[in-house]
């Protein structure tokens, strides 16, 4: 692969996110139960400071990226907290992806402090989740030598 169209990538990111979200959250609905909406799920995880749900949001993002770029990675993620003394998520998530075949860190990039291995996103609703999947996919593809075009 030498290049990928950005509009196509955004579309794939949205589809992947919704597919993974529905698999993870809405697959075991009881009869008559309303499916969960991504934005309310993400907001509930954040507002209720539920560590398990925040972890689930991060894992949905990771799996969505894998589906978008059609590759599997090794991941580490951080659900950031506004308070060091108790879990108080502020809506920011950081991700580290490593290629299991080459051992290369695929989230390495330059930021204002120099080289960083963390890709950091604020995820408070469905739109920000899809943007995170898109940007994370772009960064990973770029580090794999695939340019985003368009």
């Amino acid at each position: 692969m030498t290049g990928v169209n950005l509009d196509e990538l955004k579309k794939r990111a949205r589809e992947s996110f919704l597919e993974v979200f529905n698999e993870e959250v809405n697959s075991d609905l009881a009869e008559g139960e309303e499916p969960e909406n991504p934005t309310s799920f993400i907001r509930f995880a954040w507002e209720d400071a539920d560590p398990c749900l925040c972890e689930q949001v991060a894992e949905i993002i990771e799996r969505s990226v894998e589906l978008t770029v059609d590759r599997v990675f090794l991941w580490a993620h951080i659900v950031e907290s506004a308070d060091a003394e108790r879990f108080d998520p502020d809506g920011w998530y950081s991700f580290i992806a490593v290629d299991p075949e080459t051992g290369q860190c695929l989230t390495l990039h330059d930021d204002y402090r120099g080289k960083t291995i963390l890709a950091r996103f604020r995820i408070l609703d469905e739109q920000e989740a899809v943007e995170a999947v898109t940007k994370l996919s772009c960064l990973i593809l770029e580090n794999l030598g695939v340019k985003s075009e368009g």
């Binding site: 090794l74 060091a84 003394e85 860190c105």
Partner: protein
């Protein structure tokens, strides 16, 4: 790398980064005297490790570290470190057997700190 050299460098780096006022406020004492409540100086402990590795390897690596929690109110004394070579992008802490990208270890005394630096230097290919 000799353990004494690592121990010395840990102390030098700690004095530069944390600027302790008293002569007795050594890195070894910091690790020994900790209590794991939230006053625990995680930044000084972890930054001293990463900067010591950078200095002894003669190279600036890209790092992520975090302290692990025992419960809602205290640290466990364990830290996770991820080290990446910024030139090759290689994740040097990747364990191909466990498929873990981080090294997780307890830092409760200076010998454990020396062990960790020694291990990280090996990961970086420094003899």
């Amino acid at each position: 790398m000799e353990r004494e050299k690592i121990r010395q460098t840990l102390e030098e780096v700690y004095r530069e980064l944390a600027e302790p006022e008293e002569e007795d406020d050594t890195y070894a004492a910091l690790l020994k005297d900790w209590d794991l409540g939230f006053d625990y100086p995680i930044l000084d402990i972890a930054d001293t490790i990463t900067e010591t590795v950078n200095r002894l390897a003669g190279k600036q690596f890209a790092w992520y570290w975090e302290p692990l929690l025992r419960d809602e109110y205290a640290y466990s004394g364990e830290f996770a470190f991820i080290m990446v070579d910024p030139e090759t992008r290689e994740c040097l802490t990747l364990d191909c057997e466990t498929l873990s990208v981080a090294v997780v270890t307890t830092l409760e005394n200076i010998e454990q700190a020396v062990d960790l630096v020694s291990y990280l230097l090996k990961c970086a290919g420094v003899k």
